[in-house]
């Protein structure tokens, strides 16, 4: 057991030496791997952010009911009262056409536009919050309200959230595909860099094999090298993703403020960071394994 540990420690030390011996190449390698990893990792972080956004919006399902402009204010009041008694409804907020015009007027830059309108084109609006969530109730209620007298249109506000969720599913699938392709690329990069390493150490490998080194012994430093390269790539990728998200968030913050939200794109969680490192290290290891196994088969005498 102690000698086994020693063998592994020696192999790891040898791998680290080989890696550090060619600093510039190792750095460029880490960069190449990092960029390849950053794409799916960054996409994943973005999707996580979008998902948070769409689920948060879907929690508050609302129906906006727009009355016809020729309907008397009393009719709107009556509909509001009826809805307040409906067990499916949690809350009803009435925005009269005057209030709506006023808030439009308050919005900077639009005051002139509003005064140029002459008459008020805005309808009375009821914002209905549904008590029991569930797409069915929501759709049913919207349909009922759409047919109610005096109503011009009833619109489910969570619709955009649902579309976002659907879009997000498409994005997720695309991301899985991209990640799969890049994983293959990653293995190929690791395969080639380890191949180059092997070629520079051809003599040592050949002699070691001739005088009784096992394949496992010869492979070990290269496997560690692949692992280290993968981990370095993961580190670069995390840096890139972090930087990109920080940059995006300065813009997102401004956008979210206009919606009265403090929404930010979140960075990857600790579990996701560890997962990325494991995947990158594993792919590096795999590439190294394929490379060194292939080489050992090549030099195996008949």
């Amino acid at each position: 057991m102690r000698s086994w540990l020693r063998q592994h420690r020696l192999a790891l030390a040898a791998a680290a030496r080989k890696w550090l011996a060619q600093r510039a190449a190792a750095l460029l390698n880490a960069l190449a791997l990092g960029v390849a990893l950053a794409l799916p990792a960054g996409g994943f972080a973005l999707l996580e952010g979008l998902q948070a956004l769409s689920t948060r919006s879907a929690i508050d399902p609302q129906v906006s009911v727009f009355m016809r402009t020729d309907v008397a204010p009393q009719a709107t009041q009556q509909l509001a009262a009826r809805l307040r008694r409906d067990p499916r409804v949690h809350r009803v907020r009435l925005i009269t056409r005057e209030d709506a015009l006023q808030s439009l007027r308050d919005t900077s830059g639009l005051a002139d536009v509003v005064s140029a309108l002459g008459s008020n084109p805005l309808p009375d609006t009821l914002v209905v919050t549904v008590a029991a969530s569930g797409e069915k109730t929501l759709d049913q209620l919207a349909e009922e309200l759409g047919r109610a007298p005096g109503v011009a249109q009833a619109q489910v506000d969570a619709l955009w959230a649902r579309r976002l969720a659907a879009l997000e599913r498409v994005g997720r699938l695309a991301l899985v595909l991209v990640a799969g392709i890049l994983a293959v690329g990653l293995v190929a990069i690791a395969f080639n860099t380890i191949r180059l390493q092997i070629l520079t150490l051809r003599d040592e490998i050949e002699v070691s094999k001739l005088i009784g080194a096992t394949d496992a012994f010869i492979q070990r430093p290269f496997l560690y090298l692949g692992l280290l390269q993968g981990l370095a790539g993961a580190l670069v990728a995390l840096g890139l993703v972090w930087g990109a998200l920080a940059l995006l968030n300065t813009e997102v913050a401004g956008l979210a403020r206009t919606y009265g939200s403090d929404f930010r794109l979140p960075f990857l969680s600790l579990g996701e960071v560890v997962g990325l490192a494991l995947i990158a290290g594993g792919l590096g290891w795999l590439g190294a394994y394929m490379s060194v196994s292939k080489y050992l088969r090549e030099i195996e005498p008949a």
Binding site: S3, Q7, L10, D203, E204, E206, V207, S208, K209, L210, I211, G212, A213, T214, D215, F217, E300, P301, A302
Partner: protein
């Protein structure tokens, strides 16, 4: 003990390197294998550590049929053999000391024991003072002695050398042979391939003569 019975080796190109060889090497024996270059000496020696496998016939090393060994078992066979290669295969990116250390890295020795063995091996070939040097700085004879030190550091019971005196002047060649004789004296089984018949005649020992892959005959004390 090493035993060849009806061993033939044909290479993929169709060239027949060995044809129906049979002979036995007893424990503790010093055996020369002579013949012109291309006679099959190197091929014969490569069959013992399973660097090549026979096309037919069997090669037994200490009772093991080495031609039929699984790849995973071959490293352990080689660790019990001391091999001196025709082209020496020294590593020029490290010191004399580290060259000799190489076989001990992957067999289980404590660092202290390994260091002791490296020094002992270098001492036996007279290179103890050059352990910090790079092999490139050594003379031809010294490089050959370094190759021998690496071969014996694991204390093998069988020592195999392919043309160890090639490219050496007569004095250096004599020194190298003396080292092998010395190892044989303490019980190591030594197999030497050489084309230099003049050198062989100095020793009263068994000689196998090869020509075009066949055993022409034996001579000397058997």
């Amino acid at each position: 003990m090493i035993s060849f019975s009806a061993v033939s080796k044909r290479f993929p190109g169709g060239k027949e390197a060995l044809r129906g060889l049979s002979f036995t090497v007893e424990d503790g024996e010093l055996l020369f294998i002579t013949g012109h270059s291309g006679a099959g000496k190197s091929t014969l020696l490569k069959l013992i550590p399973a660097i090549e496998r026979p096309s037919s016939g069997t090669v037994l090393v200490n009772g093991q049929n080495v031609g039929a060994l699984k790849p995973a078992a071959i490293p352990y066979l080689r660790r019990n053999l001391g091999l001196v290669f025709q082209d020496q295969k020294l590593l020029y990116d490290r010191s004399v000391y580290d060259n000799v250390m190489l076989p001990l890295v992957f067999s289980d020795h404590s660092p202290r024991e390994a260091a002791r063995r490296v020094r002992a091996a270098l001492d036996k070939v007279g290179l103890l003072g050059r352990e910090r040097a790079n092999p490139i700085q050594l003379s031809g004879g010294e490089q050959q002695r370094l190759a021998i030190a690496r071969a014996v550091v694991n204390r093998p019971s069988i020592l195999i050398a392919d043309e160890p005196t090639a490219n050496l002047d007569i004095d250096s060649a004599g020194d190298i042979l003396d080292i092998f004789v010395e190892f044989n004296r303490v019980g190591v089984n030594v197999l030497l391939a050489t084309h230099d018949l003049g050198l062989v005649e100095r020793f009263a020992t068994r000689v196998l003569r090869l020509s075009e892959g066949r055993l022409l005959g034996e001579s000397g004390a058997g």
